[in-house]
């Protein structure tokens, strides 16, 4: 059997190739490399300055969280006030609501979209190439390319109590019109399921690729052992995409507190604020609308730190359990 003879090279390092002159490390190496490849260093300068200005200067600007911002004195001239901004935020009655809303919304999103993307990929993988498969892929993939503004307004239009097709449908069954967006209880579901609608097809692509990389010999062997399609999915496909799934999950959990400002903000209205106000929207409002720069920076920094900590913890756990992580 031809498929059995295919030997895959070990993952990780590319096949050893006689290593040509590798520049010596250290100052001498740097000087030599600079003299020889100065044009390469030169073209990197602009992008690296960009990273410094737009990524690293903001990081240093985050000291604002420990200061009382004074426009005339600037960031570094403003007086230090220690943890006061953080204390104010933690004592604010809105604190727990914000943390809870952000957390619940993210966990709900991950919990709904993570398994669905895998299920879609597994199902698509069972269908042999054909018009149906291509149609499903093309259509489910498409909403990813539509902007958030459009997705949110489509959702609002579809759910609208006056015009929306959903209420038309409910009305057909005698259910009175529901103001989905005016009721805070529906906010989370609307947010999460519109997200699932938009991204599941796109997320499935990554798993499809992982599935395509599974050695067909494993499937053949399972077939010979009498495993049906369902069993092969459980015992061949699922373990095969595990490494990919773990990485995606780690990334998703690492982003839990960084949940999209854009969508929550667009769906927000005075009626659903009790559920839709999340840390990101709060930072925007206090920071840019109310010009409380220090306070908003403290809230943002709190958020970033929690995020980073979550990512590191989850990555550690994932590596312990499955041996896969973001970095080795």
């Amino acid at each position: 059997m031809a498929t059995l003879t295919t030997v895959r090279p070990p993952a990780g390092e590319p096949p050893a190739r006689p290593r040509r002159r590798r520049e010596r490390p250290g100052i001498t190496g740097l000087r030599r490399s600079l003299r020889r490849h100065w044009t390469l260093y030169l073209i990197m300068v602009v992008p690296l300055v960009w990273f410094a200005v737009f990524k690293y200067v903001p990081m240093s600007n985050a000291v604002l969280a420990f200061k009382s911002y004074n426009v005339t004195k600037g960031i570094w001239g403003s007086p230090w006030i220690g943890w006061q901004n953080f204390e104010l935020f933690f004592q604010n009655p809105v604190f727990w609501t914000l943390v809870k809303n952000t957390f619940v919304l993210s966990v709900y999103t991950v919990g709904a979209s993570f398994p669905l993307a895998i299920i879609l990929a597994l199902a698509l993988n069972e269908v042999r190439n054909g018009l149906f498969k291509r149609t499903v892929q093309l259509v489910t993939y498409a909403p990813y390319f539509i902007s958030t503004v459009v997705v949110v307004s489509m959702t609002i239009l579809v759910l609208s109590p006056r015009l929306g097709i959903v209420n038309e449908g409910l009305g057909f069954f005698g259910v009175p019109a529901i103001d989905f967006l005016g009721n805070p209880d529906y906010f989370r579901h609307i947010y999460v399921w519109s997200d699932v609608w938009q991204t599941t097809g796109y997320s499935a692509v990554i798993y499809l690729a992982a599935l395509a990389g599974i050695d067909p010999a494993l499937h053949e062997a399972a077939k010979v052992d009498g495993a049906g399609r369902l069993r092969r999915i459980l015992h061949v496909d699922l373990p095969g995409i595990m490494p990919t799934a773990v990485i995606i999950l780690v990334l998703a959990v690492g982003n839990i507190m960084a949940i999209g400002f854009e969508k929550a903000f667009l769906f927000q209205n005075p009626l659903n604020l009790s559920q839709s106000e999340i840390i990101a929207t709060y930072v925007y409002k206090t920071g840019l609308l109310n010009a409380d720069f220090s306070g908003a920076t403290a809230v943002g920094l709190f958020n970033s730190v929690i995020n980073l900590a979550l990512l590191l913890i989850v990555n550690l756990i994932a590596k312990r359990i499955t041996g896969n992580g973001l970095w080795s």
Binding site: H37, L40, F54, L64, L157, L163, G201, G287
Partner: protein
């Protein structure tokens, strides 16, 4: 248990027979495949029907839309909604602005990405791992909204067109994709051969690397272009002048904040306006999404590859 021995062994035989049959005639598999097709059909319809509803509404008459008579096919076919879209100066201006931001932004982004990704892909570059780590770190930790805003303010970009292009010019993900591609598609031997022929680094980049990397550059360019076309958040924070607004921000004002210019006193006129305003929303959604959705089927394949290159090694 012993009392049941007889029946269990009978069952075992039956099961064995069933298993033998399954290899030749996998009935459970056929049931399973039916479920798979059913599942996929549900996925397909759930995604497709809202899209159809919006498109069908956009081609219907204002009255039909307001009365909720439109399902998945246009009722009283009319182009009133599209006329209204293109008669609105705000929308047209937004459209032109978005075209500008997308074209210029993509050119800037792609140039910067190549300029940083190519040197970082070369083994002979001292310190490339340190630099790459510093770049990757920006994916994990950011200064936050306000500190970034203050930087944009202090370099004088606020309320200029460049505010939508410069502050998000480089995507780390795109740098990873480009670097991985350069590393795998440009063998060291090629670099050395060209150096023996007296070709400098820049010349090599321009006349060998870039032509070889065309597929990757296309993917990265499209990623940037689509991001630009769809973004509204930066415009919301950095722009004040309405004549600089990109389409997405105009969309948000019309579709979500419902800011339609009022002023009519006559009740029937108000109703007519309301009906037209409702219809305009559907047409506007279609008009705003068409450019992206038109190119998407052609690029989807490359996109997939791009994601994979990026996912292989970070």
């Amino acid at each position: 248990m012993t009392a049941l021995m007889g029946t269990t062994s009978g069952k075992r035989l039956e099961r064995r027979a069933a298993r033998a049959r399954r290899i030749r005639e996998p009935r459970t598999d056929r049931v399973f495949m039916f479920c798979v097709y059913l599942l996929l059909a549900v996925f397909l319809l759930v995604v497709l029907l809202p899209l159809l509803y919006v498109v069908a509404s956009s081609f219907s008459s204002p009255q039909a839309v307001s009365a909720g008579r439109v399902l998945f096919w246009p009722v009283d076919f009319s182009l009133r909604g599209y006329h209204a879209v293109f008669e609105n100066p705000q929308i047209v201006q937004g459209y032109l602005n978005s075209l500008f931001y997308t074209v210029v932004g993509t050119i800037v982004s792609v140039t910067m990405t190549i300029a940083v990704a190519y040197p970082l892909s070369r083994r002979t570059l001292v310190g490339r791992n340190v630099v790459m780590t510093l770049i990757l770190f920006t994916m994990l930790f950011t200064g936050g909204l306000v500190p970034t805003y203050l930087v944009v303010q202090s370099v004088g970009l606020l309320d200029t067109r460049w505010a939508l292009i410069i502050p998000q010019a480089i995507g780390v993900w795109q740098v990873i994709i480009a670097r991985t591609y350069f590393r795998t598609a440009i063998p060291d031997e090629l670099v050395e051969a060209s150096q023996l022929d007296g070709c400098g680094d820049l010349r090599f980049l321009w006349s060998v690397v870039i032509p070889l990397a065309k597929p990757m550059i296309a993917v990265v360019a499209l990623m940037y272009a689509i991001m630009q076309w769809n973004s509204y958040f930066d415009a919301l924070i950095y722009l004040k002048s309405p004549d600089l607004f990109p389409l997405q921000l105009v969309l948000r004002n019309i579709l979500i904040l419902n800011t339609t210019s009022g002023g009519a006193v006559d009740a029937s006129l108000v109703i007519q306006r309301q009906e037209l305003a409702d219809l305009l929303k559907y047409s506007l959604i279609v008009v705003a999404s068409v450019p992206v959705l038109l190119i998407y089927p052609f690029v989807a394949r490359y996109f997939t590859k791009g994601i994979l290159i990026g996912a292989v090694k970070g």
